[in-house]
């Protein structure tokens, strides 16, 4: 379909580049809904019994797989389809993401209606998960090309949307379910249909706003630095060639370790705050703490990615690892001295750096590998997130259980975990320390770039 082709999305003269961040936000504010999927879990355990679960109703453990499958397909599709996204342009990728994500909801609605869990897995998990992966990486390289002067800020804005989407999805889903639920029926399927249609339309708006800059375009008044910075290349590295560089794998570990440290406590924040301050932090207050953490997760994405434009990507990650390690090591002390304020402050800063790690990495990849394949390379790096999604919760949960099984009081059970997280961040610091500019032999030659452009046009 020609309207979706890259050629048809070249910006006309006078097009404002500030339309690109809202186009990207149209996508990320929708797909970030995945973080709020848990609001459907409890209602879906009572689809047959209505007021309470019956033996034929779905179990929470089975429903947990919907999120896991979606996240797995997010990583897999971003890694496998990254080059297709890069070469076909953002509109085709955003359109496909809208079809998959919106369509995934509709298929899942069918699964809920006929009470077949495998259809929900297929719909939201597989089809929706592919939409998540395509949508996540689709605006990245376009933003970087439009904002060569501030790539961190530009990608930070989009990825901030992913972090903030749950704020919209969670109350909207609860409200919709309330509207469709009757004394004899739970309105999950109808809510899925409405959400699928809303998200499809919202994402399509982004797909039709988005434009790529014309070849050779530069921001008005901006002059590329005459002397290239040591860690910012002006060359390009082919997508699969990047996998052969130590830089890719060092950044993979940098992201994985930073995310592992954050994701482990993000899921446990509520329980941790109550167990470290028994009798002082109620379940209600803990829920408020989780809400605050989500806000800092979102704000950190924009703040740290924008800051990286001024202090550099490597220094930004040094901040994450040094400050993060100090704060993690300090958390047990906040428990010992009984300071809830210091505990909350420590975690708010930690979680802002967790979000910042996601948002700063596309610009880090651009600095290392150039702009040509940054979206596709970013897609492959997303596997670090998937790995961290397993490591983080496993470390926190199993270490806590191990401590309790060996007679450690619940209030102290997280101490060792905090020290382990601090050590992980120190390992991340070492990985970041060894990142140097990519060797010239990995750079694309002029002929290779022209060949890639021809192949892209043919695709």
């Amino acid at each position: 379909m020609s309207i979706l082709s890259k050629d048809r999305t070249i910006a006309p003269p006078g097009y404002s580049r500030w339309l690109i961040p809202p186009a990207a936000l149209c996508i990320h504010l929708c797909i970030g809904q995945v973080y709020a999927f848990s609001v459907f879990n409890l209602p879906m355990t009572k689809l047959l019994g209505i007021s309470q679960s019956t033996p034929d109703d779905w179990q929470l453990t089975d429903l947990g797989w919907i999120f896991s499958i979606a996240i797995f397909f997010l990583g897999a599709s971003a890694a496998v389809l990254g080059r297709w996204v890069e070469e076909g342009g953002p509109r085709r990728a955003m359109f496909t993401a809208a079809l998959c994500f919106g369509g995934g909801f509709l298929v899942a609605a069918l699964g809920v209606s006929v009470h077949a869990l495998w259809i929900v897995y297929l719909g939201y998990g597989v089809i929706g998960g592919v939409g998540l992966g395509l949508g996540y990486i689709s605006p990245v390289s376009t933003l970087i090309k439009w904002f060569p002067d501030r790539p961190g800020m530009a990608t930070g804005m989009a990825i901030m949307g992913f972090g903030g989407a749950a704020f919209i999805a969670s109350p909207l889903s609860v409200w919709l379910m309330g509207r469709f639920t009757t004394p004899t029926h739970i309105g999950v399927a109808e809510t899925f249909v409405v959400l699928g249609v809303i998200y499809f339309v919202f994402m399509m708006v982004g797909a039709f706003i988005v434009r790529v800059p014309s070849p050779g375009w530069k921001p008005e008044g901006w002059v590329a630095p005459a002397q290239a910075k040591k860690l910012v290349t002006t060359n390009n590295v082919f997508v699969y060639e990047a996998l052969k560089t130590p830089q890719f794998w060092l950044i993979w570990w940098v992201l994985c370790l930073n995310v592992t440290a954050g994701i482990g406590v993000l899921g446990q924040a509520s329980a941790m705050s109550q167990e470290m301050f028994p009798g002082r932090v109620t379940a209600v207050a803990a829920a408020g703490f989780v809400g605050l953490m989500s806000l800092f997760n979102m704000a950190g994405r924009f703040f740290w990615a924008s800051t990286s434009d001024y202090i550099g990507r490597k220094n930004t990650y040094f901040c994450f690892f040094v400050l993060g390690a100090i704060l993690y090591a300090f958390v047990p002390t906040t428990g010992n001295i009984g300071s809830i304020t210091l505990f909350v402050l420590s975690f708010l800063i930690i979680i802002s750096m967790y979000g910042g790690g996601f948002a700063t990495v596309p610009a880090y990849l651009r600095d290392m590998f150039g702009t040509r394949y940054v979206g596709a390379i970013h897609g492959m790096l997303i596997t670090a997130w998937s790995a961290a999604g397993i490591f983080g919760p496993v470390i926190v949960n199993y270490m806590r259980q191990y401590q309790i099984d060996h007679g450690v009081a619940k209030a102290d059970a997280y101490n060792t975990t905090m020290y382990v997280m601090a050590v992980l961040l120190i390992v991340g610091f070492v990985c970041n320390f060894f990142i140097q500019a990519v060797d010239k032999r990995h750079h694309m030659t002029r002929e290779a770039e022209l060949q890639a452009e021809r192949e892209g046009a043919a695709a």
Binding site: A166, G291, L295
Partner: protein, 39 residues
């Protein structure tokens, strides 16, 4: 040129409102909940 600039301004305003309104609404909801819960 001035016409192009005002056209761009309108598009920019609409585009940012389109994403800004739901995001702001969601953030306000979260803040209200967080403040209520800490009372």
């Amino acid at each position: 040129m001035a016409q192009q600039s005002s056209g761009n301004g309108l598009k920019l305003t609409l585009a940012w409102l389109f994403v800004g309104i739901p995001l702001t609404w969601g953030v306000i909801q979260t803040c209200i909940n967080a403040l209520l819960l800490f009372k």
